[in-house]
């Protein structure tokens, strides 16, 4: 809801006037490279995957340099353990000895470049998706004409559930900064979540859509929410730019090198629809 508000305020504040945006050249300082962790463990049959790379200068558009030869170990709260193997540069995959399980607690240990990092996450309960609905909008004062997809599903009673919605169009994740949608159940706890619009730009006939619902831990919600803020941080009411949180901690504390990114546990529930 905050996002809608911000978007509308932004539109009102800047759209109505002669405000303008210009891409400018800036000389920015360059920070020292840090380890980037992008990892996930889900309740699906796929094994846990962790991608390790390195931060770059802000305007460096090259593929992020992979971090190779790291040692990655995964443990759960029941004593299960697995070593992740590097299957491609910077890509570390579990053997299958440890799978995500709802209610499980997982600790990832990464040893890279002489530093040891640790990240912890959970897999939380998840509701199912009931149905997806396609509606045609025409002549709407705000939305362009076309097809829109709506989500319907229950939300379990008890505050503290957090969700991410992913929309895949013809197999590809919609992944522009504005497509990152995370929600908390604070305002909808225990209600039936119906008619929730998932796209801002219309789809066309023939589009195959897959919608994924991820139930995510609170801290990961905050992480993604902060990412949303920082990558869409523009306009009159931009917040003060600030680093997003991470759950990857150097075991040496402040004495060690910092890392960025997230190792997250989440569930995956999905449904598909073809627009006809």
């Amino acid at each position: 809801m905050n996002r809608i508000t911000t978007a509308v305020l932004l539109l009102l504040a800047t759209g109505g006037l002669s405000s303008c945006l210009d891409v400018v050249q800036l000389d920015l300082p360059q920070g020292q490279p840090l380890l980037v962790v992008e990892g996930q463990i889900t309740d699906q049959p796929t094994p846990p995957i962790v991608l390790l790379s390195s931060t770059q200068a802000y305007f460096d558009g090259a593929t992020p340099p992979p971090v190779r030869g790291a040692t990655l170990t995964l443990r759960d709260e029941l004593g299960g353990t697995d070593a992740l193997r590097e299957t491609a540069p910077g890509r570390y995959v579990g053997s299958g000895a440890l799978r995500g399980r709802i209610g499980g607690h997982y600790t990832l240990t990464v040893v890279a470049d002489g530093q040891t990092y640790r990240a912890e996450t959970d897999l939380r309960r998840t509701p199912p998706i009931d149905s997806l609905q396609v509606k045609l909008k025409t002549g709407d004062p705000v939305f362009d004409d076309g097809y829109y997809v709506f989500y319907n599903g229950p939300e379990p009673a008890g505050v503290g559930d957090y969700y991410r919605f992913k929309v895949f169009k013809n197999g590809a994740l919609l992944n522009q900064p504005e497509d990152l949608i995370v929600r908390s159940d604070e305002l909808v706890d225990g209600r039936y979540i119906g008619d929730v619009e998932l796209n801002n730009k219309p789809f066309v006939r023939g589009d195959q859509l897959r919608v994924e619902l991820n139930s995510i831990p609170a801290d990961y919600f905050y992480f993604l929410n902060e990412v949303t803020t920082q990558i869409n941080n523009q306009g009159l009411f931009a917040t003060s730019p600030a680093n997003v949180r991470t759950n990857v901690k150097n075991v040496a504390g402040a004495a060690g090198k910092a890392a960025v990114g997230y190792f997250a546990g989440f569930t995956v529930r999905a449904d598909s629809v073809v627009i006809r």
Binding site: M1, T5, V8, A13, T14, G16, L17, S18, S19, C20, L21, D22, V23, V24, L26, L28, P29, G31, P33, L34, V36, E38, S53, T55, Q56, A57, Y58, F59, G61, P64, G139, P141, V142, L173, N175, Q176, P177, E186, L187, D189, R191, G194, D195, E226, I231, N232, N233, Q234, G235, L236, F237, A238, T239, S240, P241, A242, N243, V244, V260, G261
Partner: protein, 795 residues
């Protein structure tokens, strides 16, 4: 708690005691006269409209004694029996002389005539021509509505807050941003009073325009330092806005038709010479054009405000004033979204003259800021409301003890309620549930005593003490917070309050002092110190405050904000007060300043205090001001060199860093050229160092999204480019014709004449077409020049 109560009691008792001590009986010999003293008192008014002349002066040359009219136009001057010539004066008005043989106290009401049309347009900011040099006030700037209307205005909308930003020491985080920053303070640290009622959000349209209708405003006074003890509750400044009383002589109409809004004000006597009223309304009409577009017909976007005031004289000694303000911004996008917000204030005042020397203003007031937003109907329907309200009773006494000594004393009691957020579904089928954030309540008691005293012609001081006590009287469960500063904290130590014991209680002593030492007839040195305390805090984590930001009281965790400020100034007038110049330096320290952890959520957050951080602000600077009052060309030049920094426990590695609104250099030049009785040209030029901001020095890719990062998590490591802008305006009046009462004028203005794309902010994003590429983007609020035409009239 014992001590502050003691002080409060002592203050309240001291005032009557001071009165008793200095009561005129038995007459004591003074240096100036053996048998003092009789008192001349009364009201000073504008002859044409009956408006009280705030700050007009009366002076007896032979004695070198004078007095100044207060906010209600009341003056009182005590002097020995005898025959004297009194000179009453007010800038822009013909001085009036009256010779009286005094053998007893008497009242004398005086009406001053405004000078001719041409001087009518002269910039008036001082009341007496040499007020700036003679008064003990430091850091004070005044604007009257004529000045405000003559300065080139954005889109032709004359604006109080924008005009104030042309004065030294006053800046903004960006054009179009809500509010203003005084001497390195935050926007919530300005006590904005409209006829004594606090105004919590001074902006229409997200900050483009201020909420005050210039047609209803009589007088604007900004106090940046040496704030008198009568005022408290905000750290950085007092912006005292007084509405017109309304014409007590005849029906008057004023108004204007502009690009953005149109205005109309009606004023008339209720009973001639006894009472009058004014009703002034303003409304924007962008939505009228919106409705012409079929697809937009269900959309609304407008603001309006209504200012009302009436006054009535009940007799020689009593007057009542009732004033009200109601303003609102409304946005509606069909059934998709609605948002509206606004202020409402109401003030009832009673002036009572107990005798020629004792004046009371008793006030009852209420003020509210609230907003609502939501989806009006359907499965996503919800309504979200938030508000702050206050109800206040005040008594302010002025005791004109001797010509050398005036006492101000009084007290106030205020009750506040805060609803930071309440969401409810609009219908049963909505997906939303009800959520109500903890409501809060508070009471604030304050008492003050101060004396304005002159020691001969050279030295004058105003010193005083204010005691303020704030109690958070909320009911519910409150927490302390534990954890590492800089990260989200964990609530611990739940404590439940049922209404007996306050949740938190804070008492503070606020000493105030300002002094003037006259070096010559035309120059003086001034110094001031003030301590200010603030128990209301605007929770805002965006570059510019938004209409959705919430005010909260001091709590167990949010401590009262405190400021100590010292300032020194040299004031000098040249060429018979044709030029006013001053140089002031200031330094201040603010404690218990609020800040936010990275990623803090300030709206609808049930655990907001877990996201708050606290620290200090320090600010210092030099303000140079030169103003030309007379002749065809008038105007001023103001330059500020300053620094404003903060150090927050948990941010920027606990090191000092520049505030987001910090500007090293800030220059404004205003020129007004009276070409003829009909034609006036004006120009303003602004230059300022860019505000500070945080830029990333690295990026990382997470699931295909490019996230900015700054090593060491430092804050405000960069400056946006410098800002400068030139505006021009011309005002052409219609030809004066004998017997015609209708006065019309056209004002043409160009804002941002050389169409500079001034940076409001820099931000960073992925290129929409090549997501792996990142780019820096400059946001300019106005990317081009903005011409406008306004027709103003008065009848």
């Amino acid at each position: 708690m014992q001590k502050p109560f003691f002080w409060l009691a002592a203050l309240l008792l001291a005032a009557p005691a001071a009165l008793a001590q200095t009561a005129p009986l038995p007459p004591r010999p003074t240096r100036s006269a053996a048998n003092a003293s009789v008192t001349v008192s009364g009201y000073l008014k504008d002859a044409a409209t009956g408006e009280a002349l705030i700050g007009a002066t009366v002076f007896v040359k032979t004695l070198g004694l004078g007095a100044t009219a207060n906010e209600y136009g009341f003056y009182s001057l005590s002097l020995p029996r005898g025959t004297y010539t009194f000179t009453f004066s007010y800038v822009g008005f013909a001085a009036h002389e009256e010779t009286l043989a005094l053998d007893g106290s008497r009242t004398l009401a005086v009406r001053l005539q405004a000078q001719g049309v041409q001087t009518d347009e002269v910039i008036v900011t001082g009341r007496a021509p040499d007020q700036n040099v003679r008064s003990t006030e430091t850091g004070v700037a005044r604007l009257d509505s004529r000045t405000i209307k003559l300065v080139p205005a954005l889109l032709g909308e004359a604006d109080v807050v924008r005009a104030i930003q042309l004065l030294p020491g006053v800046s903004t985080v960006g054009e179009g941003a809500t509010g203003f920053n005084v001497r390195g303070g935050g926007i919530d640290q300005n006590l904005i009073l409209l006829d004594e009622a606090p105004v919590y959000n001074s902006s229409h349209l997200f900050g483009l325009f201020s909420v005050f209708n210039p047609d209803a405003v009589k007088d604007v006074k900004l106090v940046k330092g040496g704030i008198p003890a009568a005022y408290g509750g905000r750290l950085s400044s007092l912006l005292d806005i007084r509405m017109k009383d309304g014409n007590s002589q005849r029906l008057g109409l004023t108004g204007g038709i502009g690009l953005i809004s149109s205005r109309l004000a009606v004023e008339a006597p209720i009973v001639k010479d006894k009472g009058s009223f004014i009703v002034a309304a303003r409304r924007s009409y962008a939505d009228v054009f919106l409705k012409l577009i079929p697809a937009q017909k269900d959309n609304q976007a407008y603001f309006y405000d209504l200012s009302l005031k009436a006054n009535y004289t009940l007799g020689e000694r009593d007057r009542v004033y009732v004033s009200g303000y109601f303003g609102r911004d409304v946005f509606k996008f069909g059934k998709l979204f609605q948002n509206n917000w606004g202020n409402a204030t109401g003030t009832v005042r009673w002036n009572h003259v107990f005798g020629p020397r004792l004046f009371l203003n008793a006030t009852a007031l209420a003020s509210q800021y609230d907003y609502s937003l939501g989806v009006p109907e359907g499965s996503q329907g919800f309504e979200w409301n938030s508000n702050i309200r206050d109800y206040s009773l005040k008594g302010d006494f002025e005791y004109f003890r001797t010509p050398q000594s005036t006492l101000h004393f009084g007290g106030s009691a205020t009750y506040y309620t805060f609803q930071p957020g309440h969401v409810k579904p609009t219908e049963a089928t909505s997906i939303f549930r009800e959520l109500r954030l903890q409501q809060q309540r508070g009471t604030e008691l304050a008492a003050y005593l101060d004396e304005e005293r002159s020691f001969g012609p050279g030295l004058a001081v105003q010193y005083g003490l204010r005691v303020s006590m704030f109690d958070n009287r909320s009911t519910g469960t409150f927490y302390d917070y534990a954890g590492e500063r800089g990260r989200q904290l964990t609530p611990v130590g739940a404590a439940t309050f049922a209404g007996g014991e306050p949740v938190a209680s804070y008492a503070n002593l606020e000493p105030r002092l300002s002094a003037r030492y006259a070096l010559t007839e035309n120059s003086s040195l001034k110094a001031s110190y003030n301590r200010m305390v603030q128990n209301l805090h605007l929770i805002s984590n965006t570059t510019a405050a938004t209409p959705l930001d919430v005010w909260l009281p001091s709590t167990r965790n949010i401590k009262p904000e405190r400021a100590d400020q010292i300032s020194l100034g040299y004031f000098r007038n040249l060429k018979n007060n044709a030029y006013e110049t001053s140089v002031e330096v200031f330094g201040k320290r603010l404690s218990n300043q609020i800040d936010y952890i990275n990623g803090a959520n300030t709206l609808l957050n049930q655990n907001l205090e877990a996201d708050l951080l606290y620290g200090q602000v320090r600010a210092y600077g030099v303000e140079v001001y030169a103003k030309k009052n007379a002749d065809r060309v008038t105007g001023w030049l103001s330059y500020t060199l300053s620094r404003s920094e903060r150090r927050i426990d948990g941010l920027n590695n606990n090191a000092w860093y520049a505030n987001k609104y910090d500007k090293t250099h800030y220059l404004s030049a205003v020129g007004i050229y009276n070409h003829s009785a009909r034609l006036t040209f004006s120009a303003t030029f602004n230059y300022s160092t860019g505000v500070s901001t945080t830029v990333p020095d690295a990026r990382f890719v997470y699931q295909g999204l490019v996230v900015p990062n700054v090593t060491g998590d430092v804050r405000n490591n960069y400056r946006v480019p410098a800002y400068h802008r030139l505006d021009l305006a011309a005002t052409l009046k219609n030809k004066p014709r004998e017997g015609r009462r209708w006065d019309g004028s056209w004002t043409f203005s160009i804002y941002n004449v050389y169409a500079r794309r001034n940076a409001y902010s820099l931000f960073f994003r992925q290129n929409a077409d090549a997501p792996a590429q990142t780019e820096a983007v400059r946001l300019s609020i106005f990317g081009t020049l903005l011409p406008s035409a306004t027709y103003n009239f008065s009848f």
